[in-house]
Symmetry: D2
Subunit: 109 residues, 4 copies
């Protein structure tokens, strides 16, 4: 049977997977990035056992296309999720890894 | 070849299809609905030829689950999109049709 | 009031907007591209007034990441949607425009 | 620092969160459910450290709307994901819990 610590880690994974796949593809620009960050963080904060969610969209990667906006790509998202599962804590992060050219999700605590 | 009016209608369709399929499934509650409405409207407003986007999430349908929140369903979304394509206008709406039990998208102008 | 031709164009737009925003972000590789193309085409074919949907994922753009797969990006999708709305037809296309570096949706008929 | 077992649990969570939020909202019918199940399973199988993914869409919940199809809802999805992270295994499940009326994700091993 899973320990509380393992379940906290599992819950953290769910949140990052949800955050990523719900919002990738959303039209976004420098002007709307903050509104989108807030909606993303607040939405995932509703899920079970969440204590904290922080979302930051990398403005430098947010290049404008010919129509003056871009789309949210996974590598633009920096996020931290903190879970409290029955007193056990897990902290996980989503962050672009330039060496691997991959939006890496990792358990940091 | 398509007329400007037909193209305006086409563009309006794109925006409603995008709005719907990007955001359905997002966790939402009474407390976060406004933040999500704003992010949805601002995001779709960035797309080409958009003049106006209004989004309203039906609070009465927003029932809480056992964890105190719900998920955005298509039938909860009321939206109006106005397109200006080279001077030709199209206005389209997404609204739940209770008789058909269907989130209907229609061209209203 | 909208003509049948305008409504057909509107319906075509809905389908392309849905196709794009539902599936962008999906993990995909050379081995799974065909299965994803089929699921995308069959899913959108269910929507009202659709007569034909064709979806092709550009294999050359499908670069592998460090873990051996990639994610569906809008510019990888080539799609054609044909609508029949009460006898009036609309054909629309989604195709990457290299000059604009943009996944362009257009009404071709 | 996280143990391998905790990381395996974290990875399992990512996969279920991704599966759910990528595909909820997809048009689906009795005729297309199998194609969608396959695309879902094959897509998530590509993600790192996945050993097995099984996806089943509940046909009984798949009610047809006025246009003869429905949309994938979270509660229709039954899924099992098995992770192997450096030799440590985690098995997680997504299954509708009728008592809680909630699509529950849980770590089963």
């Amino acid at each position: 049977m899973a320990t509380k610590k393992e379940t906290a880690a599992f819950e953290a994974g769910i949140k990052l997977g949800a955050l990523y796949h719900q919002f990738v593809g959303t039209p976004v620009s420098l002007e709307t990035a903050e509104s989108l960050e807030q909606a993303m963080a607040r939405s995932i904060s509703l899920q079970p056992h969440v204590r904290r969610v922080e979302v930051h969209i990398n403005r430098e990667m947010l290049k404008r296309n010919v129509f003056g906006y871009g789309e949210l790509e996974g590598r633009m998202i920096q996020a931290v999720v903190e879970i409290d599962y029955l007193g056990e804590r897990a902290v996980a992060r989503l962050e672009y890894d330039p060496a691997k050219d991959y939006p890496l999700m990792s358990l940091v605590h």
